[in-house]
Symmetry: C2
Subunit: 229 residues, 2 copies
């Protein structure tokens, strides 16, 4: 084992930050000095500090040196797993029921998000995920019918989410959290009163310029999406 691993260097840097030995806005020693002081190679210091900069603790500029962030932008990473995995990771039994699947015209909001012309038709899939028999979340998804194989996919047995992950290549997308009041339909499926405040997760995914799918997950009452800082 080398004297100093990059992890040890990072821990030491975090210790100095937390102990206020290094203070917000102040410049810290350069990589070469730290490497000499800690007895390791500069590359080791570089890796340790690079990751702290990516996490928002430090700001680094060539020639300008490395400073503690004055206003650290905390970056919180949330895992967005396949719903079934999410449920099973909580130690519950996941099941899935297809409610409807038919091709129809995109509603205006989805059409705008996917930048499609008017009257574009997509496959609309509505499905309910349950955990230990209780409603967990409602999946309201629009799928581009041009996606290869989607015509023969059977979303009754495999969720559209999983089918898409396994069968399409995508290049990017976006995710957003929001809140909605349950309408009568949603309330019925999720077993809550109409008007209940529910957390939503909207996702769109693209293969280059072509939209693959837009989905809204509406979680059952009280659901939270958590992570560590």
């Amino acid at each position: 084992m080398p004297a100093m691993t990059w992890q040890a260097v990072q821990d030491e840097a975090l210790r100095r930050i937390r102990s206020r030995e290094w203070t917000p806005g102040a410049r810290i020693p350069d990589e070469e000095a730290l490497a000499r002081e800690l007895g390791c190679a500069r590359a080791t210091v570089n890796r340790a500090l690079r990751e702290l900069a990516a996490a928002g603790y430090l700001e680094r500029r060539r020639k300008g040196g490395t400073r503690l962030s004055e206003t650290p932008v905390r970056k919180a990473t949330f895992e967005i797993p396949i719903i079934r995995q999410d449920i099973e990771a909580r130690g519950m039994r996941a099941s899935y029921r297809l409610l409807s699947a038919r091709e129809t015209v995109l509603p205006p909001a989805v059409r705008a998000a996917l930048k499609r012309p008017a009257d574009t038709r997509f496959l609309h899939v509505l499905a309910l995920h349950t955990a230990d028999g209780a409603p967990f979340c409602l999946e309201d998804r629009w799928i581009n019918p041009a996606v290869e194989g989607v015509g023969t996919a059977d979303f009754a047995t495999l969720s559209a989410n999983e089918w898409l992950v396994r069968n399409t290549a995508f290049s990017g997308g976006d995710v957003a959290f929001g809140a909605v009041a349950a309408d009568a339909t949603v309330a019925g499926h999720l077993g809550c009163a109409p008007g209940t405040a529910l957390l939503t997760l909207d996702r769109t995914t693209w293969a280059g310029p072509t939209p693959i799918t837009a989905a809204r997950l509406t979680y059952a009452e009280g659901h939270r999406v958590e992570t560590r800082l």
Copy 2:
């Protein structure tokens, strides 16, 4: 410029993933083979693939090699900035108004989250953030009165959020999104109808075993927290 940068290697790997040249679950060439093929050092390949593994695209095991994830757990990173910065980044004018600040007994839910005994007293701060004059979010925060300097801090001019970021050293915490229906008080401050579904962001931060603060941000109607995948 070297022939192949780690970024170029990563782009090439992503191209092979997206083109399905490499398929989910299948093993990809080992680092040495890729380095030879692409004409770079193994360390360069290592950095490229290590980051793809951290992002959930690949699973790597010593001796087991590197495989494409069968069920990629997408990791979405959200920036959790100081609210004022968040507002200003949207090109709006941020302002802040302290609504109340007094020390009182922790309510049960917060007490449990912070693992404090019954009758623990914290400083309770309620404040409204506005963007271009319109309500943006309501900050409902509990601060450990043992935090150094909190007794003399003036939260009327500087938000508690910013004061804490600048004046305390913390070691960790957690974040959670949720949804609540506006009660009469919240509705009044945020200018919406009682019962409106609102997005919440709950945060707790710790200095080792000592809680520093617990905060709930309740965003105005329609607010979304977004990120790219």
